[in-house]
């Protein structure tokens, strides 16, 4: 049989529980715009009083409404999306070298060189046209030089960018290890660690845009964060990432443990901005550079061999027009007008026959006809076609990256929506629970009031 004081107690607990509910609702409303905030729900449960069959209410604590599966998907989607948009951005910079209206104009310079050979056939002894040939050849070489220089300085900046990202990763992993420690402490001493967990989620989200990550709780109950295939955080222990250059010039991602030992984890890296930078460095920039070098080498060595087979205005045998190495390596970067012929228009080998005659433009014709000869790309493409292929290659890479970025972005948006749906705050809902707790609070007050009236009747009326 319950006593009147039990009713008072129940009313007291009810008031406390309902105002706890109001506080939690208030917190949700207050954090409606807080990045990474996970909505909470007040957990209440009935509490029997002693061994009696009635009781009161007890505040059990908070529930963070977060869905681990959605969180994982969010990390993965963010990592891929960050990687795709970083690729898109970097390829956009690369593409600038080959822009049609404002690029370095390699195609145009090559066309003008062939044109000047063609003009020489009209009057092979014309010194001004010969000088023009040398100038156009020099121009062709320098446009290739500047394109190659832009490409290689672009590529050279990437390791530093990657390094900055690994430093950010290392900072985040050590923060996360500290947060793990704080969460463990808080939970051990019976405190609510919801805010710390929110903070941890925010940091993990940040980390997921840098490298591809995966999180799980191990059998000791510790949160494990794996990134780039290696364990970055395990409970309170953090590892760092670093960047190195392999002997073949590729970018290496290294994991560094607490004793400073490193391991190459490059091949496991699949997402995040770090993966985009690695791909740009090892794949796109390297391949485009190779293509440009091959193009420069093909054109320069073919022109050289035809030019050297002719005879100059003074009857001497032709020399090479371009200074180019024996192989395509760094050909675009190092291409120069040969120093022997520089400033010597009479040395342009326009004549095909020896002894050379001033009107013999046979070799100039052969040089001009190279424009339509399929000597480039292993003897399959004319120089203009080879350059067009290069443009198409650059364009396709960038277009694919843009598409990828758009697609990844919308996937991230979808996952974000899923995450919001599970963990976000809906103000209408909060309004309803505000009303709900308010009404319950009022009802509990009424219970208290009733108990009070009963007690008053007992004390003032009966007890007199």
């Amino acid at each position: 049989m319950a006593g009147l004081t039990d009713i008072l107690r129940t009313a007291r607990d009810a008031l406390a529980a309902q105002s706890y509910g109001l506080t939690v609702t208030g917190q949700n409303v207050a954090n409606v715009n807080t990045e990474g905030y996970v909505r909470r729900r007040a957990l209440l449960q009935p509490q029997p009083l002693g061994n009696q069959d009635f009781g009161t209410v007890q505040i059990k604590g908070l529930q963070r409404l977060s869905d681990q599966y959605t969180e994982q998907r969010h990390y993965a989607a963010l990592g891929l999306s960050a990687s795709a948009s970083e690729s898109d951005r970097l390829l956009g910079q690369l593409e600038g070298v080959f822009e049609l209206t404002s690029g370095t104009g390699i195609g145009q310079a090559l066309g003008q060189l062939f044109s000047s050979f063609s003009r020489l056939t009209a009057d092979p002894s014309d010194l001004s046209v010969r000088a023009q040939i040398l100038q156009q050849a020099d121009n062709f070489a320098s446009t290739l030089n500047s394109a190659a220089a832009t490409l290689s300085s672009f590529k050279a900046e990437l390791p530093a960018e990657a390094k900055a990202i690994t430093q950010e990763v290392s900072g985040l992993t050590s923060d996360l290890a500290k947060l793990n420690a704080q969460i463990t402490n808080a939970e051990n001493s019976g405190h609510d660690a919801a805010d710390l967990k929110d903070e941890r989620d925010r940091q993990i989200l940040k980390l997921s845009t840098l490298v591809d990550i995966r999180t799980f709780t191990n059998n000791k109950g510790l949160l494990v964060i794996q990134g780039a295939g290696t364990t970055l955080v395990e409970g309170e222990v953090a590892r760092k990432l670093d960047i190195g250059l392999a002997s073949n010039g590729t970018l290496q991602v290294l994991s560094v443990n607490s004793s400073g030992a490193t391991a190459d984890v490059s091949r496991f890296l699949t997402g995040g901005r770090l993966a985009a930078i690695r791909d740009l460095h090892d794949v796109h920039a390297t391949e485009l550079m190779d293509r440009l070098d091959t193009f420069a080498f093909d054109v320069a060595s073919e022109i050289n061999s035809v030019h050297a087979s002719g005879y100059n205005l003074d009857g001497g045998s032709g020399v090479v027009l371009f200074d180019v190495a024996a192989g395509p390596a760094s050909a675009a970067r190092n291409l120069r007008l040969d120093s022997t012929i520089q400033g010597q228009p009479r040395m342009v080998a326009a004549a095909a026959l020896s002894p050379a005659t001033p009107g013999d433009g046979g070799n100039a014709l052969a040089l001009a006809q190279l424009a339509d000869s399929r000597f480039a790309a292993g003897g399959t493409r004319t120089p203009a076609e080879a350059y067009g292929d290069l443009i198409a290659d650059v364009g396709t890479r960038k277009a694919r990256a843009s598409q990828d970025a758009t697609m990844r972005e919308s996937m991230t948006a979808q996952v974000y929506t899923m995450r919001e749906s599970a963990s976000g705050v809906n103000l209408d809902e909060e309004m309803i629970s505000l009303t709900k707790f308010q009404r319950a609070f009022e009802a509990a007050s009424r219970v208290l009031n009733t108990a009070d009236e009963l007690l008053e009747r007992l004390i003032n009326t009966l007890g007199r």
């Binding site: 409606v32 822009e99 049609l100 195609g107 002894s125 013999d360 424009a371 443009i391 364009g395 277009a399």
Partner: protein, 292 residues
């Protein structure tokens, strides 16, 4: 599905930002008039454009070469025509000289005119054009004939390319036209024959020289017609290059240029959609229990 306030805001923001991106692209196209500016705008079209601009550059070089060759070809044809006229006069002199009523003195007068014709012919054969002596073959810096009418040039016929892979020989070699190598007559020798026949006052020899003069004239006429053919070919090549340039420019424009109507209608369409999206957003964001 639970819809939260942030989801609404996020979706509205995302849609508006996508529309703004589309609007920026559309206004960029409409104002620049170009739809392919970067290779990634359309990689295939960009590659084609690179090839087309190479072909346009080549065509303009071909045309320039043709134009600078045309004046020399015309000069050569003119010189050959004048030479033919000279032989018409020489024939008259020969017929006049063969008349039995003429005495040695009359014929000496005719011989002097013949000598001056030969001197004129020599200067015609040594005409110079923009690129040097017209009839010296490839030895453009050497006069084609010396005073004795001996050919000093070579057999070079200057070759120029007038279309990819199409080569035209533009020079008329003096050795064919004037020296008659191989198998023709040396036109200077024929005039010299007439002159010496006139000087020796020999009617029979004078008559006999007529055959040689006719042969020389026929040879020059044939060369002139060849020069005419060269000019025709150059004209035709120039025309077809001009046509080709037009075609290439059209192709370039269809690949790279924006269809003005399409661009403007896309722009206004995006504008309308953006306005609609904004008004929808206003309605969505206004619904809340807080307003009760």
């Amino acid at each position: 599905m639970r819809i939260t306030d942030n989801m609404r805001l996020f979706n509205v923001g995302r849609n508006l930002s996508q529309l703004s991106t589309r609007q920026a692209a559309a206004s960029d196209q409409a104002s620049s008039g170009l739809k392919v500016r970067k290779p990634s705008d359309d990689p295939v079209a960009a590659a084609k454009l690179a090839r087309i601009s190479a072909a346009l550059e080549q065509a303009s070089a071909f045309r320039e070469t043709i134009h600078s060759t045309q004046s020399d070809a015309a000069s050569a044809e003119g010189a050959l025509s004048e030479s033919i006229d000279l032989f018409a006069r020489a024939r008259e002199l020969a017929i006049q000289g063969a008349n039995g009523s003429l005495n040695a003195e009359n014929r000496a007068v005719l011989a002097r005119e013949t000598a001056s014709l030969r001197a004129q012919l020599l200067s015609l054969a040594n005409s110079k054009g923009a690129s040097g002596y017209l009839f010296s073959g490839n030895k453009t810096q050497t006069a084609a004939f010396d005073g004795t009418g001996t050919y000093q040039g070579d057999s070079g016929t200057r070759d120029i390319e007038v279309a990819p892979g199409v080569v035209v020989s533009v020079a008329i070699a003096g050795e064919e036209a004037f020296a008659g190598i191989p198998g023709g007559v040396n036109v200077f020798d024929e005039l010299a024959n007439l002159e010496s026949a006139l000087l020796t006052n020999n009617g029979t020899l004078i008559s006999a020289s007529l055959g040689g003069l006719d042969a020389a004239r026929a040879q020059l006429t044939e060369s002139r017609s060849r020069a005419g053919i060269v000019q025709n070919r150059l004209d035709m090549a120039d025309n077809s290059l001009a046509q080709g340039e037009l075609g290439l420019t059209k192709q370039q424009s269809s690949l790279a240029d924006v269809d003005a109507f399409e661009a403007v209608s896309e722009l206004s369409q995006v504008g309308t959609t953006l306005e609609q999206a904004i008004s929808v957003a206003r309605n969505i964001l206004n619904t809340s229990l807080l307003r009760f």
